[in-house]
Symmetry: D2
Subunit: 345 residues, 4 copies
């Protein structure tokens, strides 16, 4: 490793790719070696991204085949699923930090069922580390492939894993209602994401069939020691960034003990914050930052609790967590390049 | 009753009052007799409302004491709770259509517990009709006091009452996650409702203690034949109008039977629409109109269903339903003055 | 003419087409005979429009070739330019009310220059009436083709024509800065109109080359009696509907006389309102309605005035004005079906 | 000076104060010594600001009288005008960086005329440096009082000063149309700034009487060598942050020469970027950053040009420029703590 990590971003023409570039620009130990976008190869980042207008020095977009991978330390996969694994499995040399869904599920059959096709590189699945950073610190340093969690799973697992680990909640009847900003839908051309279709409006989507469900169930089951089936209903909210999950759970300990479990688990975490009692998590608390805020409340129905977490879907829910994972994988301070405070208003 | 109903609006300086005036302006059988706003008496509606700029002919705001109630057929209460009952209980003559919370709860003790003070006119409670129009048609014609439901209860009860009545769902563990536009918070001066505080953001509020809970429980219990305790978590969404409730319920019949119960109940309703299977309700389907859309989905957790409803909180959730109630109370066609189609985009 | 006008809408899958259908639904003398959208023929309006979910009775979309035009009294063209004239020129029978740019410019050469191709039906241009309703009332009754003005020209001409006619302003150095909601960009799939691209942001576009310029110049020149060249800079604002134009003009009369000219011209107009002195026009004053608000202010630079107008770009700027023109063309009351008051908040 | 500059923020309960704290949190050479907010003294920053929820270590708010000024190197005034000068004039020791209007105007009489009262400390005016950083570098190092420009003047002056200095435009008939996000209105409780009043809407305000006019005229006149009167019409746009100014100017050189003047002036500036020919400035290019983007276009009216600039009103238009000034005043690298790339989407 030289003084600076040389990174490549596959899919620099999408929102997660762009947010990774944004973070890389001010990371003191990162150098952008290549920006890849097959369909837009030859264009400048300024031509396709308004916020890079002041950065004429950014590398021009290239095709994946035109990258000299020998000079790259880490490659970030910011591509749609299937495309990602297919492309990444052919790259030799750099460590892989994938932001797609391709290396998250351990079971290729589950992948095939939810993602509509056979996995492009099933032999790579066993070696991939599920990179929910706060729960993966021991595996990250040596990892060849890091699968960054989906945005919803990041928020839900941060909220629930400590409670499951402490046996403070039951793994049954976990019910999650989730709210996401529109950037979570990506930059692809869909009528449904035009401004007039979603502004001044709200609606649920993917009811009972969102692809983040098996991912959450896999990680919850791992801690519960048995299969878990959850209820999950995401809604689209007219904002650019931000994600908030409201989880209804059955307590198996007192609310105070549950709260204590969260407190103990996150006391020393730089990016996860248990809020003071009674304070409601809000996406504005974390906008534009890698931080996450969590709190737990009594439900009006006895024996249940409401656990709520908020993140910025593009940062902690995507590119920020990827950089956090990179830092740990390469022995850098975990918070490096991720110190920016939330942007409010 | 003359050719035109002469109405008065108490609280014409608030959002619900203004939306009532907006609807009254084009109602063919309504005449605005008085607009009351004690704190702003003497001002014109144009001075305090931008959208009435083109209506210089609207009556000037007056104090309640200055109204000649003998010439008023119906008075709409668009005031905060407590103030509403106190003022309305002193008015003799016109029928009362109240949009505050004051006449919704049948039990004065419950009112005192949730609204922080003794009820100003408890003797009026037994006679008040709970005006969820679709379930109150028989009582409305003769009603002296009509209590219009809260916005959240309107959406939740439209979604769940037919299912409870058909014994298709259990009255236990009903879990509601709700989303509301900011107009629901009223026009009062709170830092929390300034544009930069809520735009590009989302957060829950009133967790476990929202005042619409006892109201929903009262009406659900009435149909269940026994007490009901629900879970309810509302969230504030950066939009002006619109409300969407996502209800997780335990099925006691098949999903198909549950769906059939909704279909049968709403087949002939002018303002409540069961959507085709698989279509997700959205606030944009009803924006600016008195309509409501509903649908039911299988939950991933076996034995449960997800019932979702959307309304415009200021119309079907407030002023529109009040006009609908007025129409029935005075023998007019139910849809009169409420025909406007939803505004999209 | 039968009791109800039978109308057809070409381009019912676009925003202006949909807003025309919305207005037609409650127009007491209109019947929707056919909804045309070649690319989406065979689909229901519910399938492509959320707000028509409660209207299962709307006609299914058909191809233009499949319409029996003999049963149609008026056809509304809500198609892109060129396509509109090409299709409409082949339709025999119904009167044509076109919302595209195709029949607005009197000079086919100017059309070719600005719209990038020869006019598809130049022989129809002389007979077309430029349908800025308030200035076209005498020509509308017998018109075979009515060209509805563009949204920006509607606002600018309503603001300036009375001043030019009264010789209160000079036709030189007219400078217009304009703001529009995103629905003005149409429903076509462009990355630039995705929610995350335009929310929480503002930018100018089409600087010095917007196609509404020659149209405004044509109509201003007509009143000035000589060629007029204007400056026009439109900006995209993160809102669905609404348009506001801020016009800097050189006074040739006193400000009071200029104001008097506007007052006299619009005193009896049902949809155009001169605001009280000092009140700033705002799009929220007219949202969802066919109304327009105007005011005039002294500029800090002596001898100049600032004239500001606001409309809803989809109503008075498009479909509402089209209905207003239809009413006059067919001898109906001008305001019929357009009475809805503005929606605020 | 110790290793870290110890700063105090007067008015830490307002948006500009909070954004200054946000920037200070990650500035490597700044330590927050005191946060002052007389009305909220005793409260924590977490209690009043959502985005500081993850920063429990921030100092508690105190009254100005309770600060030990001897330990403070620089005090930032983030208070309303008049209050600011009154308070700051009593503080002895630290250098003053004021973000209010109080030290911007050189002429106390002009101040009195526009700000409705005598200046609280007129004797301090001559010594104050007008801190438009790019044009004040020589005066900043020794400055005792730095008056940070208003947000609109920052954008307008960055756009026009190089053109005036190069004699490429005339100082006559400068016409500015400006657009601002709602955070520019501050956090004070005004009905006009409630979410439902401004969302999905746009309107002009302060027409012909905005207080930033004399400030712009003062600085323009300084370069023009004679008095300048400008036209300025600001509009409120439904977004949190961002400001865009569209300036119509009369050219006294060719457009190419004017462009060359901007290019030469800003070639080496870290925060001001002349965009490539034809690219329209947009607020999304600079959101959340200290950067500014500028471009110049031919107007359709011969002999005129349109100069457009965009900034984030809270950063380059306020707190960011204040930090930039602090850096220069204290001999630190100009960009320190201000490197964050723009946040998009």
């Amino acid at each position: 490793m030289t003084d600076r990590l040389r990174i490549a971003v596959l899919g620099a023409s999408g929102y997660t790719g762009a947010d990774l570039v944004r973070l890389a620009l001010t990371h003191p130990r990162v150098e952008i070696a290549a920006l890849v976008a097959n369909a837009k190869a030859g264009q400048s980042m300024q031509a396709i991204w308004p916020h890079f207008a002041p950065y004429p020095g950014l590398p021009t977009l290239v095709k994946a085949d035109d990258v000299d991978w020998s000079g790259v330390d880490a490659v970030f996969g910011c591509l749609p699923h299937a495309t990602s694994a297919e492309l990444l499995s052919k790259i030799d040399g750099p460590r892989i930090i994938d932001l797609s869904a391709d290396f998250r599920l351990k079971d290729a059959a589950t992948y095939a069922q939810w993602y509509g096709g056979a996995h492009p590189a099933p032999d790579l699945l066993p070696g991939a580390v599920y990179g929910l950073t706060e729960f993966a610190r021991r595996q990250l340093p040596g990892a060849g492939i890091i699968a960054c969690p989906g945005c919803y799973p990041t928020a839900v697992l941060l909220a629930l894993l400590p409670l499951l680990e402490a046996r403070a909640i039951a793994p049954d009847r976990i019910t999650v209602n989730a709210l996401s900003g529109v950037s979570g839908a990506g930059r692809s051309l869909k009528e449904a994401n035009l401004f007039p279709e979603v502004a001044e409006a709200v609606h649920p989507y993917g009811i009972g069939q969102h692809r983040h469900m098996p991912e959450m169930e896999q990680e919850l089951a791992l801690r519960a020691g048995r299969p878990v089936t959850i209820s999950f209903t995401p809604h689209l909210v007219p904002m650019n960034r931000g994600e908030l999950v409201t989880c209804i759970v059955e307590l198996t300990a007192s609310l105070a003990d549950a709260r204590a479990a969260l407190e103990a688990r996150y006391a020393d975490e730089p990016f996860v914050h248990l809020l003071p009692e009674g304070v409601a998590p809000a996406t504005r608390m974390v906008r534009g930052s890698n931080r996450s805020v969590i709190n737990i409340f009594a439900d009006r129905i006895p024996g249940r609790a409401i656990v709520i977490a908020a993140i910025d879907n593009l940062v902690k829910g995507s590119s920020g967590q990827a950089v956090q994972n990179m830092n740990l994988a390469f022995g850098l301070p975990e918070t490096m390049g991720l110190e920016a405070a939330p942007l409010f208003p």
